[in-house]
C-alpha cells in the first residue's frame, strides 16, 4: 500500500520533469544556450586569461576561484563537524580513546586492541594493495601536478591519495598507517587547502589588488602557473588528509 502510494507520487513528480526535459534543446547541440554564452567566451579566451591549458582548472582556480575557496572551507568544516559529532564515546568513559592507545601501545591496552582486531584480510588483496601503493601514489602526484595542462587537479589527486590511504588502513591496520599522518602534522595537512588558498589569495591581493588575483602580464605566466600549482598541491594534500582523517575517525569507534 505504502509502496504503491510512493510510486504514484513519483510518477506525479516525474511528469513535469519529463515534459521539461522533452522541451530542452537536443542533447549535444552546439547551438544550445549552454555553449553560446559564457562558455563560448571561456573557450575562446580562457587559455590566455586564466593561464591554464585545462579550461576546467582555469574556471575552478581563476574565474571562480572564490567559489573553490569556499568549497575547500566546506570540506574542512565537514571534517570539524565529524570530529564534533564523533568525539565523545559514552561507553568508554574515562578511557583515553583508541587513537591515543594506537599511538602509545602499552601492555595494558593489548586486550582492547585484540577485541577490536580487524577481520583477517585475504593475502591476495593485501599483496595487491601493497604492490599498487607506490604506483597509485605516483599517479596521484602526477594528477595533482599536471592539473593545469591535463585532465585532473587537486581534488582528483586528493581523492586518489585518500582512497589509497583508506585501502592501506584496511589492509595494514590503523597503527601502521598512522605513521603516515603524524599527530603533530595532521592539523596542518588537514588545513593545507585552506592555507594554500589564503596564502595565494593574499599574495594576489598584495600584487594585483584583488583577492586571488593572478598576474595577467604575459611575461609572468610562469608565476601564474606556479601559483596554481601551489593551490593544487594544497588542495590535493588537504583533501587526502581530510578524507583519511574522517575515515580513521569513523573507524576508531
Amino acid at each position: 500500500m505504502k509502496k504503491a502510494l510512493v510510486a504514484a507520487l513519483l510518477i506525479i513528480i516525474s511528469i513535469p520533469m519529463l515534459i521539461a526535459v522533452a522541451a530542452m534543446p537536443p542533447h549535444g547541440d552546439a547551438d544550445s544556450p549552454v555553449h553560446t554564452h559564457v562558455s563560448a567566451r571561456y573557450i575562446e579566451h580562457g587559455e590566455e586569461e586564466a593561464g591554464a591549458e585545462n579550461l576546467v582548472t582555469g574556471v575552478l582556480l581563476n574565474y571562480r576561484g572564490l567559489d573553490t575557496a569556499g568549497e575547500v572551507i566546506v570540506i574542512f568544516t565537514a571534517l570539524m563537524a565529524a570530529f564534533a559529532v564523533l568525539i565523545t564515546h559514552p561507553g568508554r568513559g574515562e578511557e583515553s580513546g583508541p587513537t591515543t592507545a594506537a599511538l602509545d601501545p602499552e601492555p595494558g591496552t593489548e586486550p582492547e586492541s585484540d577485541s577490536k582486531a580487524p577481520p583477517p584480510i585475504s593475502p591476495v588483496v593485501s599483496f595487491m594493495v601493497r604492490l599498487l601503493t607506490p604506483f597509485t601514489t605516483l599517479f596521484a602526484i602526477y594528477v595533482i601536478l599536471n592539473g593545469h595542462v591535463t585532465p585532473g587537479g587537486g581534488f582528483q589527486g586528493g581523492a586518489i591519495l585518500g582512497g589509497m590511504f583508506i585501502a592501506l588502513t584496511i589492509v595494514l591496520g590503523e597503527d601502521k598507517v598512522r605513521t603516515l599522518l603524524p599527530r603533530r602534522a595532521a592539523p596542518w595537512m588537514q588545513g593545507a587547502a585552506v592555507f594554500a588558498f589564503v596564502a595565494i589569495g593574499v599574495i594576489g591581493a598584495a600584487t594585483t589588488g584583488y583577492f586571488l588575483g593572478y598576474p595577467t602580464d604575459a611575461s609572468l605566466h610562469l608565476v601564474r602557473e606556479l601559483m596554481m600549482v601551489v593551490i593544487e598541491i594544497g588542495i590535493g594534500l588537504g583533501g587526502a588528509a581530510i578524507f583519511a582523517t574522517i575515515f580513521l575517525q569513523m573507524e576508531a569507534e
Binding site: 505504502k2 509502496k3 510512493v6 510510486a7 507520487l9 513519483l10 513528480i13 516525474s14 520533469m17 519529463l18 526535459v21 522533452a22 522541451a23 537536443p26 542533447h27 549535444g28 547541440d29 552546439a30 544550445s32 549552454v34 555553449h35 559564457v38 562558455s39 571561456y42 573557450i43 580562457g46 587559455e47 591549458e53 585545462n54 579550461l55 576546467v56 582555469g58 574556471v59 575552478l60 571562480r64 567559489d67 573553490t68 568549497e71 566546506v74 570540506i75 565537514a78 571534517l79 563537524a81 565529524a82 559529532v85 564523533l86 564515546h89 559514552p90 561507553g91 595542462v149 591535463t150 585532465p151 587537479g153 581534488f155 583533501g239 578524507f243 574522517i246 575517525q249 569513523m250 569507534e253
Partner: protein, 117 residues
Amino acid sequence: MLEALWNNVDYVASVVLFCIGLYIIIAKNNLIKKFLGLNIMETAVFAFIIALGVVDDGSPPIMGEGASGPFASPIPHALVLTGIVVAVSTTALALSLIIRIYRQCGTIEADELREME
C-alpha cells in the same frame, strides 16, 4: 513528445535516477539506505549537468597544441567538481551522525527511532 524524449534520452536517464533515489529515501526505513538514496539523487543531478555540457563530436576543454574544436563546455565540469566535493562532505557528516545515533539509541531504523521518542 516521445521523439523529443528519445533525443534527450541522457536527460531522461537522469530523471529516472532521480526518481529511484527519491523512492529509496521515502520507502526505505534504514537511515544508511535513505542516505544512499540521497547520494543517488545527487548523482542524477551531476549526470544531468555533465550531460548538458556535451557537444556532438566534441573534445575535452583542454587547449594547447593540436587541440581543435568543438569543445565541451568547461563550466558544467567545474560546477560538478564543486558539487561532488560538497556531496562527499555531506556524506561524511551524515555517516558520522548515523554512527552517533546508533551509539546513543542502538538502532538506525527510522520507525524504531520514532517509537523511542
